[in-house]
């Protein structure tokens, strides 16, 4: 299996895995929320590297622009707005054994996923039926292929996401809005 793998691909994979796992562990371990957001950027960048390595060029660009550019900046806005809160409580542990139970549950889940992957044969090397034998394009052709899929096969879902985004924006504005007292006379009563 390894004989057919080029050394460059292995280097890219190892670099991406180091970025992803290093950032993910950083999100969990650092005390300062700002540093956690920066670790999150590292993970997102690693995922973008893995996307490029698997010929999802458009998604890698979107990953950087939307996730690292917009979502993490939104996190940072909220962290700055609320003030940096360092009290993430290792000592006070209201639920007894919460960490141990979480660790055991997560280990069982991940081990189950990997076992499922090792024992089943989903990855047969056969192409998907819906592609009609076309290979996945790379580079600028990837944008064309993905755009064609989104604007034909997935057009309804695409239109629905437009409505979803509008609803999310309106909802966020309603939630974050400060309640304004309409009539000052009511305050005195």
């Amino acid at each position: 299996m390894l004989a057919a793998t080029s050394p460059g691909a292995i280097v890219v994979f190892v670099a991406a895995a180091a970025l992803i796992l290093g950032g993910a562990v950083g999100v969990l371990t650092v005390k300062n929320p700002v540093h956690a957001a920066l670790s999150l950027i590292m993970t997102l960048f690693g995922v973008a590297v893995a996307f490029v390595a698997q010929s999802a060029d458009f998604l890698a660009a979107v990953q950087i622009i939307v996730y690292a550019g917009a979502i993490v900046v939104l996190f940072l806005f909220v962290i700055m707005f609320l003030g940096v809160d360092r009290r993430d409580s290792v000592r006070l542990d209201p639920l007894v054994g919460q960490r141990a139970f979480a660790a055991v549950g997560v280990l069982i889940t991940v081990a189950g996923l990997i076992t499922l992957m090792a024992r089943s044969h989903w990855v047969t090397g056969a192409l998907s039926v819906s592609t009609k034998g076309h290979a996945l394009a790379t580079g600028s052709q990837n944008v064309k292929q993905l755009g064609t899929a989104i604007f034909t096969t997935y057009l309804f879902a695409f239109e629905a996401t437009a409505a979803l985004l509008i609803i999310a924006v309106v909802g966020a504005v309603m939630l974050a809005r400060r309640e304004r007292v309409a009539d000052p006379e009511e305050v005195d009563v």
Partner: protein, 101 residues
């Protein structure tokens, strides 16, 4: 020749596990949101890996929609965090116990 798909799938499973562990153990609502982002990214990585293996662009289209939903979720979630903070001056989820049965 690219690395075997199983490597990326195992990496995604481990990333999902790290995110799930953080979601279960952290107290700060902000860090919990970041852990949800980690789990979403793990799923995205799995989708892209299967898209490459099966040569089907549908997996990549799904990742596109997952990103849109994640953006909407973060927007509304952080709006809720700000609203809660304004009322309680804390983002710790342990202190939100009014609805305890």
């Amino acid at each position: 020749m690219n690395v075997p798909a199983a490597w990326y799938l195992i990496l995604a499973a481990v990333l999902f596990g790290v995110g799930a562990f953080g979601l279960l153990t952290k107290r700060s609502a902000l860090i919990m949101f970041m852990c949800v982002e980690l789990m979403l990214n793990a799923v995205n990585l799995t989708f892209v890996t299967f898209a490459r293996t099966l040569s089907d662009v549908g997996g990549q289209a799904t990742v596109f929609f997952v990103m849109v939903v994640a953006a909407a979720e973060v927007t509304v979630g952080l709006g809720i965090v700000v609203a809660v903070f304004r009322r309680r001056s804390s983002t710790s989820v342990d202190e939100l116990s009014e609805m305890k049965g």
